[in-house]
């Protein structure tokens, strides 16, 4: 087992004809991911390195049985692309696109929750990989190995750092997931922690957070009550300069949450082992499994 993606995952790539979309989709395919289709309005019938292009996600699903969408389309069209994939019936939509306006993300999330049962990962995320089974996104698969540690992070590149630390110590991963750091992530820490807790393959969890927002504090609450598997955590930004804050609305909403120390305290309190340096994640996991 693994979470969200496995050998049965069939991917349709939205924006396969673009530079980034093509580069990473082909890397995913070379890894063994079933990349079955691409979409680009007006280019239906063409192919990219043997992958058929369709005008719509609906057509792609009908012809290829795709169940997962990976989105690279530029910000102005991303909301519509994600909604198209959801309405067409994709179970999972992995949105890599960076720079989508917060309003579009909020509306998109609202509509997905109200009208569909699709899971959105991202936007502005590196995607996810279940080593040995499937890679959907932009994570460098070379640093991963199959195993029993689940990794979840808000930051793309820090996810890679954590995975590398594990692999260097010969500790494999069940699934590595970057949820993205945008204002309205489709999948939260809690969603992923819950899935790891229920996944038979996963025996321990690495959770990487960063300053700002209250997602880590909420995750800590969840861990306290629901997660029995060992959790190792790292929070980036202990020495980061304080951001320029404006107005009081944000302060009222987040209360005293948001600082690295508040997050570290909440996670420690929830029973997680919080390390102060990402290069110590591997050893900390080794100590608990």
């Amino acid at each position: 087992m693994s979470i969200f993606i496995d050998n049965e995952t069939k991917v349709v790539v939205q924006g396969l004809t673009g530079e980034q979309g093509k580069f990473h989709a082909l890397r995913n395919k070379a890894y063994g991911t079933k990349v079955v289709a691409g979409t680009r309005p007006g280019k239906g019938g063409e192919t990219v390195e043997g992958i058929p292009i369709f005008n719509t996600v609906e057509d792609a699903i009908e012809e290829t049985g795709a169940n997962t969408a990976m989105t690279f389309v530029p910000p102005p069209f991303a909301k519509d692309a994600v909604l198209e994939a959801a309405y067409a019936g994709c179970e999972l939509i992995v949105c890599i696109t960076e720079g989508i306006p917060a309003k579009d993300e909020a509306e998109m999330y609202d509509l997905l929750k109200q009208k569909t049962s699709s899971r959105l990962l991202g936007p502005n995320c590196p995607g996810l990989i279940s080593p040995g089974k499937s890679n959907v996104g932009i994570m460098p698969h070379e640093i991963t190995m199959e195993g029993k540690v689940g990794v979840v992070s808000r930051s793309g590149t820090l996810t890679y750092q954590a995975v590398l630390e594990l692999t260097n110590l010969n500790i494999g991963q069940s699934t590595c997931i970057g949820i993205g750091g945008d204002p309205v992530p489709g999948t939260s820490f809690i969603d992923v922690l819950d899935a790891f807790q229920h996944d038979i393959q996963t025996e321990a969890i690495v959770m990487i957070g960063e300053i700002g927002g209250s997602a880590e504090e909420e995750a800590a609450e969840f861990i306290k009550d629901n997660v029995t598997k060992p959790v190792v955590s790292y929070i980036a930004g202990l020495t980061a300069p304080p951001g320029k804050k404006m107005g009081h609305a944000g302060a009222i909403v987040s209360g005293n949450k948001g600082t690295a120390s508040a997050k570290i305290e909440a996670l420690t309190d929830a029973g997680a082992n919080v390390v102060k340096n990402p290069t110590r994640i591997g050893q900390a996991i080794k100590d608990v499994i």
């Binding site: 980034q20 990473h24 910000p75 102005p76 960076e98 720079g99 989508i100 306006p101 917060a102 309003k103 909020a106 509306e107 999330y109 609202d110 509509l111 590196p126 932009i138 994570m139 460098p140 070379e142 640093i143 992070s153 808000r154 930051s155 793309g156 590149t157 820090l158 890679y160 750092q161 590398l164 750091g181 204002p183 309205v184 990487i208 960063e210 300053i211 927002g213 209250s214 997602a215 909420e218 790292y234 980036a236 930004g237 202990l238 020495t239 980061a240 300069p241 320029k244 404006m246 107005g247 009081h248 609305a249 944000g250 302060a251 009222i252 909403v253 102060k276 340096n277 990402p278 290069t279």
Partner: protein
């Protein structure tokens, strides 16, 4: 992007939100007796920091002499490290009641949040802390929006003056329209006042979501009016996320999380970062070249740590950028490079082919940080 009060109020006018009549000036010579405002006038320092009233940055002028006197006093004033470079001069209002209203996105709830209070004009965080019942929180579905009935109920629940219900409802709806249609991260009015001339937004705190710049031509004009530190100007032109800090280890990395983490690790080994510089995702060779150019003009930099973990960013392109920026140059400081992830083998090969005695390749983030700290001492 945080706006000055006068910029927020311009947006208010675009959305027909009532606000006092005003003029905006950035020099004494541009203030003449020939304005069409009625005294008394409020002279307000335009700075992006709270507490300007207490610091003497807001004064009421009853005639032209006082207007010039106070403007002279306030222009150039240092308010908590912010130098006053411009003034908003507006007609004073006779205030009967002061309310608080804001619209923002609540990331936890994943909905828009309207906060409304009859206790405006004072520290609203204190109200939220000590009298939470006096602050009404209303969550708004982003796909459904706000409707009149809901606003009427919020006005009633907040115990705002019911004689002004319709006018308040109208202003609140317009503020919401501004929040949504102008892609604002924040619209906050404190106070939203009942004055002798009706409901009026006396202050403005507006922040814009720059991810939406492609659908708002005016964002660029607004941005041009906001001064940024000289050191950050070049980086901004090159689309680099750069923040100047006080230390001596120059930092370049990809992804905010990894860069923040690099700062933390450098600090753990006894160093201090000279800056935060994120080249973002999918950087090209020229992005990396530009990043090194930014650090070249920073005098406090004594060593540079380039920490890249390729995903969407390709290490071969990063290496090309490093070579381009350093080739044939007598470098001022040692550069420690750590490359991992997508195309890292190709990247390292490029660096080895173009070796430079000031450039050291490190195989781990920890070692790279140690070397960079050592190089800065």
């Amino acid at each position: 992007m945080n706006l000055f009060e006068y910029q927020g109020k311009r947006l208010y006018k675009d959305f027909s939100i009532p606000t006092p009549k005003s003029i905006f000036v950035s020099s004494i010579s541009s203030i003449s007796d020939n304005h069409d405002l009625n005294y008394p006038l409020v002279v307000k320092a335009q700075v992006q920091v709270g507490g300007r009233g207490k610091a003497g940055g807001i004064k009421v002028a009853n005639n032209f002499e006082e207007l010039i006197e106070y403007s002279n006093e306030i222009l150039g004033m240092d308010i908590k490290g912010h130098i006053v470079e411009s003034l908003l001069i507006e007609e004073a209002s006779t205030i009967q009641e002061e309310y608080y209203i804001s619209f923002t996105l609540d990331r936890s709830a994943k909905k828009y949040l309207m906060m409304l209070s009859s206790k405006g004009g004072m520290d609203i965080e204190e109200v939220a802390e000590n009298n939470p019942d006096d602050l009404i929180k209303l969550y708004i579905s982003p796909s459904e929006g706000l409707n009149t009935e809901v606003v009427n109920k919020a006005i009633k629940d907040s115990k705002l003056n019911k004689d002004f219900n319709d006018e308040l409802n109208d202003v609140i709806s317009k503020l919401y329209n501004l929040f949504v249609e102008s892609d604002c991260d924040l619209v906050e009015v404190n106070p939203l006042a009942i004055t002798n001339k009706g409901v009026s937004a006396l202050d403005s705190k507006v922040s814009l979501d720059m991810n939406a710049v492609y659908r708002h031509d005016n964002f660029i004009d607004i941005e041009k009016e906001i001064p940024i530190p000289v050191s950050e100007q070049f980086a901004k032109e090159k689309n680099l996320n750069f923040i100047k800090l006080e230390g001596s280890v120059g930092i370049i990395g990809n992804g905010a999380g990894l860069v923040m983490s690099t700062l933390d690790v450098v600090s753990e080994y006894g160093g201090k970062a000279a800056n935060f510089l994120d080249i973002g995702g999918g950087a090209k060779a020229e992005t990396v070249t530009a990043a090194l150019e930014v650090l070249e003009s920073e005098n406090n930099v004594k060593s540079v740590l380039i920490n890249i973990f390729g995903g969407i960013t390709r290490c071969d392109l990063v290496a090309e950028g490093i070579v381009e920026a350093t080739k044939g140059k007598d470098l001022k400081w040692p550069i420690i490079v750590r490359l991992d992830g997508t195309n890292s083998k190709e990247g390292l090969a490029i660096l080895l082919e173009n070796s430079n005695e000031k450039i050291t390749i490190s195989s781990s983030m920890d070692d790279a940080a140690k070397l960079a700290v050592k190089g800065a001492n």
